[in-house]
């Protein structure tokens, strides 16, 4: 299927591939030959190249990260063309590779953003202590980038505007015997308990200043947040007990609230998780802790608002 959006994504992917590959070649050279203590011609050349290529990689990954929003926007847009789709959920599920693609994209969002954070931290020190690590990490990220590009182009070009797809109502239904159905049929009070408890535990780990446990709590917080959003909070955003879709809330009918929720959740947990992966300089570490707490709190307040508001307005739960 070809739409202006898919064409744009294709062109972007080609550019990502080209610049990503240039970065990859230099990254391999640096990982193999970089020797910070050497004062040879080759070493000075590598030092010069390392700065240039790291800058290329940084912008590449920055644009890649931002292009995620465009991807979501495209899915929403495509839902108008695919018969049966009401929102992006139907579009994602139109093909088998849709869900793996989306999950890979979310994973890459964290990986790529973390590369940028690692790079920025590296530049803060005269000795560039993470130089080799960041290029090694980029080599890993490059393969993820390639997989994403291949999967994405495959997905969009296999997408067929004439095939009838499911709407989110059936994908996120409680009765069709799928994994999702099982999840939704569970008593959500445990999930809710886990959600709020995890947040309290996260704050507790912050007070303990244990960055590893704090990061772990953040990792779990992403998962539990997504589960509770689908099983519980979403239904209050839609004010419909059977509407569990995590995509509809990206649409204008719900004031694009989804973008805010996901952004808060990403910024909060991304900062939280990166604390566990990297020993930041003290001041920056403090900032990361604070951003993680602020954005996770914003997320928690936002999702909690909907059931509370509903209860206050109607005097009962859904």
């Amino acid at each position: 299927m070809i739409t202006p959006e898919i064409l744009t994504i294709t062109i972007l992917d080609i550019l990502f591939f080209l610049f990503g590959s240039i970065g990859f070649v230099i990254a391999v050279k640096i990982v193999l030959f970089y020797d910070a203590s050497a004062t040879t011609h080759r070493q000075y050349t590598l030092e010069k190249q390392s700065y240039l290529s790291a800058t290329i990689i940084k912008f590449l990954l920055l644009f890649k990260t931002l292009s995620f929003l465009f991807f979501i926007y495209t899915l929403n847009k495509l839902s108008n063309f695919l018969p049966g789709a009401m929102c992006a959920a139907g579009v994602v599920n139109a093909l088998k590779i849709g869900t793996p693609l989306l999950l890979l994209k979310i994973l890459n969002l964290y990986i790529f953003a973390f590369w940028i954070v690692l790079h920025n931290e590296d530049l803060e020190y005269e000795k560039q202590p993470y130089l080799k690590v960041k290029f090694l990490f980029y080599i890993f990220a490059y393969f993820l980038l390639l997989s994403e590009i291949v999967l994405e182009l495959n997905y969009f070009y296999l997408l067929d505007s004439s095939s009838v797809v499911d709407c989110c109502g059936s994908i996120f239904s409680t009765t069709d015997g799928s994994y999702m159905a099982y999840l939704l049929s569970l008593d959500f009070s445990y999930q809710l308990g886990a959600f709020y408890l995890l947040f309290v535990v996260m704050v507790f780990f912050y007070l303990l200043k244990n960055r590893y446990l704090f990061a772990l709590a953040n990792l779990l917080f992403v998962i539990v947040s997504l589960i509770t959003l689908i099983s519980f909070f979403g239904t209050y955003i839609y004010e419909l007990p059977t509407h569990h879709c995590p995509f509809c809330l990206l649409q204008s009918d719900y004031n694009y609230i989804g973008y805010f929720l996901y952004l808060f959740l990403f910024l909060g947990t991304f900062n939280g998780i990166s604390l566990g992966l990297l020993a930041f300089e003290k001041e920056r570490q403090k900032k990361k802790y604070i951003s993680a707490l602020i954005f996770n709190t914003l997320y928690l307040l936002c999702v909690s608002y909907f059931p509370l508001a509903y209860y206050i307005k109607n005097g009962m739960w859904l």
Binding site: A36, T39, T40, H41, Y44, E47, K48, Y51, L123, E126, Q128
Partner: protein, 222 residues
């Protein structure tokens, strides 16, 4: 204080400006780098200031390996350690004398009072108080030279590098400049002057004359 170890500098296009230079300068020394145009004097100064990187070898200034310093740290290194007087002054013609002098300090985010205090001190030291709001392009060569010295000095650097400082000055102004150098020496600064001006060759307060030819040290007498 300043050490060059096996330094070679080859420019793109294959010009070898310096080849295997070994040099050690002590703190507080006044050194004159002699040599005809194109011999490699400016290249040595640029390497010490962290304005360029060697092709091979290392440059160590005040214990710091400048040749290994990432570029974005070199600016800070210069701000904290080095004052540079260029041949063409490198002043910004459309800015005032005060702004030109304070330029090296602006990125450091110093409080305004300290900036003004430093400015006053330099204006006074080089007798340009009455010109402080004048636009640089309207000044005479000698006045511009003094602004350039004031600017090189405003960050209170341990090291002062001067590249052909008298090339555009008449003899009277050149001698004035030499007096200023003498004054800077008495402030215990390490000073390196790259020049082919014979006025410098007989000075008694110069500790060392180093002659460069074709990118090599051919003479070094104390």
């Amino acid at each position: 204080m300043i050490r060059l170890e096996g330094v070679t500098k080859e420019f793109d296009g294959g010009v070898i400006a310096l080849s295997d230079i070994n040099l050690e300068l002590r703190e507080g020394e006044v050194v004159v780098l002699k040599g005809v145009s194109g011999s490699g004097k400016s290249t040595i100064l640029a390497l010490i200031a962290g304005l360029s990187k060697p092709t091979q070898g290392r440059v160590i200034v005040d214990g710091k390996e400048v040749s290994k310093l990432p570029d974005h740290f070199c600016a800070t290194f210069r701000r904290e350690n080095v004052g540079i007087i260029f041949q063409r002054y490198n002043l910004i013609p459309d800015l005032s004398v005060s702004d030109n002098i304070l330029l090296p300090l602006y990125p450091a985010n110093m409080p305004k009072e300290i900036l003004l205090e430093r400015l006053e001190k330099e204006l006074k030291a080089y007798h340009i108080e009455d010109k402080k709001d004048a636009v640089v392009k309207n000044l005479s060569g000698g006045q511009q030279q003094r602004v350039a010295i004031a600017r090189a000095n405003v960050n209170n650097p341990k090291i002062i590098l001067a590249d052909e400082p008298t090339a555009n000055l008449d003899e009277k102004l050149s001698r004035e400049f030499i007096e200023i150098l003498k004054e800077l020496k008495s402030q215990k600064r390490t000073i390196i002057v790259a020049t082919h001006d014979p006025l410098f060759f007989e000075l008694d307060f110069v500790d060392r004359f180093i002659t460069i030819a074709h990118g090599k040290i051919v003479d070094d007498n104390t």
